[in-house]
């Protein structure tokens, strides 16, 4: 089930071109888009063109890629157009690709470190000795903040046991601004009045949100923030470029707030409440004139999966680690704590209210012990979750990533005994995997995709070419050769392809 309300990178693609050009004036933004959103092939194209004095004719670009990889090439070019990095120009009478000037200039600056220091921040030089902050402290700070937000969303709908509330105080209550944002994004619903204390109830979108990995969560929240920026009289593009700026800073260094303008200062104070940056307070409660980006910030635009998983382990796994110290000692590692049996019973060695609340989304919890909860998955409990907007894959990936080391060992032993080395033994029992998918299918037999239906092609050749093209750029959803119809989720690329084809046929 696609979450339509949750903002994501697709949101960025809906911005008009002029906004993009403004965004690309900041080197940090250009670099961030380049790192985070482009495929390897698209990156290669950009790098190839970056220092070329003249546009590159389309024909020549085509020569760079083997025919077998035409699909990837088309996809890369489409992507570059969508992000307004490539533009079509005519050069010596032929069609050619060129980088948009703002993007090219900014990326060159980002790579060579040229330009004013505002592009990558000014390192604060005058940090008092007693106020130096270590990376471990920053991690801890980010964890507390982030856990506070997630805990607020999930824990709020479940009543934690007495004993765990004291342990869980390490997580901070999110600031009113964050709560407001969660509400605006429809991740939670507030009920009750101010005087009697508001209670938050997590929504369907919120469920899907909490099961994501941290990087996706942060971006979802940040895009919400950008989308609501105008409410706080801030400019979307300014906010976005500031976010990209923060993401390009270095972990463990203090940066000066002096070069920041008013919008950026306001942004900064909001990012503090997400745990994305850390700004120490003076004794009188006013913030000091420097700030530290935390690991949440510095991995925002990272494209390497290792650093991303590092964030997940340093910040994310602490969610399970924080209050399950007993499982730590028994299992040796902090990460896994869930055992699933083939009879759908589930044992989770945790006492964290957040984890228990998450499990209760799709498990009928039966009993609770100081360091263990037990329960059973059933058709109705899984379908309840699916109705709430959680997919079978999300459940499975959650269970797999939190599987107890014992289960991993078992799967490895099984794998070793296996004669076929290509056959990967899943960590969860295969029956469980299948059954969860079957339960989902039973409820979710219908899929819908918004987009465009192309039909009424006069002959097969006219149908075949755009259809294949759509498949290559990855927008084809469905086709029927007999009826000469196909369905795409984006039409821009196909439309220009068909127009070009028609022009070629006539000329």
């Amino acid at each position: 089930m696609a979450d339509t309300t949750l903002q994501s990178w697709e949101y960025l693609e809906t911005l008009p071109g002029t906004q993009f050009y403004r965004l690309y004036r900041s080197p940090a933004s250009a670099l961030a888009i380049f790192r985070k959103r482009l495929t390897s092939l698209a990156k290669t194209f950009v790098m190839m063109l970056l220092y070329m004095p003249a546009p590159l004719p389309v024909k020549q670009l085509e020569l760079f890629v083997k025919d077998a990889s035409r699909g990837e090439r088309e996809y890369a070019i489409d992507l570059l157009h969508r992000y307004h990095i490539f533009k079509d120009v005519s050069y010596n009478g032929a069609k050619a690709h060129a980088l948009t000037p703002d993007f090219a200039r900014s990326l060159r600056r980002a790579l060579t470190g040229a330009g004013d220091s505002r592009s990558f921040g000014q390192v604060a030089t005058h940090v008092p000795h007693g106020q130096k902050v270590t990376i471990a402290q920053l991690d801890e700070y980010a964890r507390q903040r982030w856990e506070g937000i997630l805990g607020y969303m999930v824990g709020s709908s479940a009543v934690p046991l007495e004993s765990t509330t004291t342990e869980h105080q390490a997580a901070m209550q999110p600031s009113p601004g964050v709560i407001e944002l969660l509400k605006a994004g429809h991740l939670i619903e507030l009920s009750g009045t101010h005087s009697r204390g508001q209670t938050a109830k997590i929504t369907k979108e919120g469920f899907a949100f909490v099961l994501q990995d941290i990087n996706t969560q942060i971006w979802a929240l940040l895009f919400l923030y950008v989308d609501n920026a105008e409410v706080f009289e801030m400019d979307k593009v300014d906010v976005l470029s500031f976010l990209f700026f923060v993401s390009s800073l270095e972990l463990g260094l203090a940066y000066s707030t002096a070069p920041l303008d008013e919008t950026q200062q306001r942004c900064l104070s909001d990012l503090v409440s997400f745990g994305i940056v850390y700004q120490p307070l003076r004794d009188d409660g006013t913030p000091v004139d420097f700030f530290y980006p935390t690991r949440l910030a510095t991995t925002l635009t990272s494209d390497s999966s290792t650093t991303l998983s590092a964030t997940n382990t340093t910040i994310g796994s602490s969610l399970s680690k924080s209050s399950s110290s007993s499982s730590q000692s028994s299992s040796g590692t902090a990460k896994g704590f869930i055992i699933v049996e083939t009879n759908y019973r589930l044992y989770a060695y945790t006492s964290s209210p957040l984890q228990i609340a998450l499990l209760s989304l799709f498990v009928n919890l039966r009993s609770r012990h100081p360091n263990l909860v037990t329960g059973k998955m059933s058709k109705s409990s899984v379908q309840r979750a699916i109705q709430a907007g959680i997919t079978a894959d999300q459940i499975i990936s959650y269970l797999t990533s939190h599987a107890h080391p014992q289960m991993r060992r078992h799967a490895q032993a099984e794998q070793a005994r296996n004669s076929d080395p290509n056959l990967v033994v899943p960590i969860l029992p295969a029956t469980i995997l299948d059954q969860i998918h079957l339960w989902q299918l039973e409820r979710d037999r219908m899929t819908t995709t918004p987009g465009f239906l192309l039909k009424d092609f006069p002959n097969h050749a006219d149908y075949e070419a755009p259809c294949r093209y759509a498949d290559e750029i990855g927008v084809l959803v469905w086709k029927n050769d007999k009826k000469r119809m196909f369905f795409v989720n984006r039409i821009e690329g196909v439309r220009s392809f068909m127009a070009e084809r028609r022009a070629n046929a006539q000329g």
Partner: protein, 78 residues
């Protein structure tokens, strides 16, 4: 001349498609733009959630509300 029609592609199995058609017929074609085959049809984009909810409703009544005899009540003990 090829035409492009905006909408949402709905894909499901034939029994569900029969329900979609029935609902559509009863509401004077409020949902379907184009019937394609037993597995696919094009529906109005803004009515997607509505038709989904209606099909679910119809299915629940057709299958009988059997939520009570579910396996939540676990017979064997823990």
């Amino acid at each position: 001349m090829p035409k492009a029609v905006k909408g949402a592609l709905l894909q499901c199995d034939p029994p569900q498609m029969a329900m979609v058609r029935k609902i559509d017929r009863e509401t004077n074609n409020a949902y379907i733009i184009e019937e394609i085959d037993d597995h696919t049809c094009l529906v109005k984009e803004n009515k997607v959630e509505e038709i989904k909810a209606k099909v679910k409703e119809l299915m629940d009544t057709a299958m009988g509300v059997d939520d009570d005899d579910n396996d939540d009540k676990d017979s064997d003990l823990d």
